[in-house]
Symmetry: C2
Subunit: 304 residues, 2 copies
């Protein structure tokens, strides 16, 4: 278990949330708050820092603003919920002015507009020391779709097919700044089929699949030859390794019964690929191209 997952599960154990008021608490892509009979709202918060999640020496402020908003939208997609709005808190370097803020704003508008998701408030503060770097903390609200409950990480069942959208790996070569969050795809998939568990791949397939397995109390067997490797990953020294462990793919990882998979056969918004199956072993394994079955070790990004 990564250090991040260790502390997250410590926080989850501390928390004594009333499940009637908070149907989904710590440890999922979003938390859910029940406000009235049949009315709930979901919330996610994410911090993006210069030098960690983006690098202002090689990307624009507009791109950083885009990425922050798109990353939050990707959390809405991960639960198959409908984005409502966001608030944006920014910590600015000392030499930042209003023009810099307007560039950030342009990026978040570009990310949010296709999903009718606006920024409704925020907070602006400035570092006092010259080394202080840009921090973007965006928090987003969404609502259940109405046709499918929010999809959790913990719902995977033995025998489920494991699937992903798109292709994986090498996001650092460009996609991490320009990905389109899979909001529409998630809503359409859950309109067509019942999905047992889902999340977006932010820290690498191996690490994120481990989260689904741990939270669902199940194991997994991946087929190495089935993993859809991106063009970018093919330019890396070990393309399979990149597809398994690179962070920030922002694709969807989900599991569902075989009969539900049949309902997604005509799905055309993005390629969907079956990459393995949920097992009762409580271990993660991968069948390599030569037929050997090896342990699949979570080697994705650990934030701590």
């Amino acid at each position: 278990m990564s250090k991040e997952d260790e502390i997250t599960s410590w926080f989850a154990r501390q928390s004594r949330l009333d499940p009637k008021r908070f149907p989904i608490g710590i440890g999922d892509d979003m938390a859910e708050i029940q406000l009235a009979e049949g009315v709930s709202v979901l919330i996610t918060t994410d911090t993006l820092m210069d030098g960690v999640h983006f690098d202002l020496s090689s990307c624009t402020l507009e791109q950083a603003g885009y990425k922050a908003m798109a990353a939050s939208l990707s959390d809405c997609a991960a639960m198959a919920t409908v984005p409502l709005c966001a608030v944006a808190a920014v910590s600015l370097p000392t030499d930042f002015g209003i023009e810099h803020l307007k560039q950030l704003h342009a990026g978040r508008v570009r990310a949010g507009e296709p999903f009718d998701c606006e920024v409704v408030g925020g907070d602006i503060t400035k570092w006092r020391h010259p080394e202080g770097k840009l921090v973007l903390c965006y928090t987003m609200l969404s609502r259940p779709s109405g046709h499918h409950p929010p999809v959790r990480r913990s719902g995977a069942q033995v025998g489920d097919l494991i699937c992903v959208t798109g292709t994986l790996g090498g996001s650092i070569l460009g996609k991490h700044l320009e990905f389109v969050p899979r909001v529409r795809e998630a809503l359409e998939m859950t309109r067509l089929a019942r999905i047992h568990s889902m999340m977006d791949i932010t820290d690498g397939l191996s690490t994120d699949l481990n989260r689904i397995c741990t939270q669902s109390g199940v194991g997994a067997l991946l087929e190495a030859e089935a993993v859809p490797i991106s063009e970018a990953a093919r330019r890396m020294p070990d393309p399979l390794e990149a597809a398994l462990n690179d962070g920030e793919d922002f694709e969807l990882l989900f599991t569902l019964r075989e009969d539900q998979w049949e309902k997604l056969k005509g799905f055309s918004m993005v390629p969907l690929t079956v990459i393995g199956r949920i097992t009762d072993s409580r271990r993660m394994q991968i069948r390599m191209p030569d037929g050997r079955v090896e342990p699949l070790v979570p080697r994705g990004y650990d934030h701590l």
Copy 2:
């Protein structure tokens, strides 16, 4: 107008929020999202940074966690709304570990527990450069009280009395780390009386009163002798100046009609003081102890 207010109003002008979906948008203490007939939720986000809002060389992590949570609760108080829950995003220095996170957690529990307000989710990231300092970004949800609509900054009316809770100034000497957010007081005041406008004093009375005046399209005349000066401010070189311009009092500033003020006569949770009156002049003025009326210049904290 401060640089912060300048950019906030630029953002507000850019925003094309549908007032049916978003009854309160950019520029107030919280934004309001309408989710269903009669069901809405409010949201506020705040960033607190080491070296700006707290200083880890002279305060504990527990105190920093307390302050971050209490500052968000103070925004709920500012609108007289009921806190629901928070999400916490933290950016950690490179030498931070799980024990540090547990200290932050202890502080936010101490702040939230009296208000039944728990953290339901969050995000943890770590700086990669050794100069990276702690950033706490807390986002809180609240709901309308049911007995009084959320109180906005823009509702002040000519002839209103201008009032404050508690005493002002010198918060830097200690109160800024240990204040109790005025959530209960705000809810009780709005149960007893109709309040036209309200906010919490975070950037100094002069600057925050200017926000109420600007957003309400009115002026104000303060009575210097009526301003309740804190014990801490009395230890400053110019106590009145401290009470007018020091930030982080986290007291409530509100305006109401004289007949509504009568209804607060027996209020005992915290001292309430009338410090002036809303005028139709669109200017802020202050009557000094010698009787001279001078311009009241917003000299509080500007975050930009």
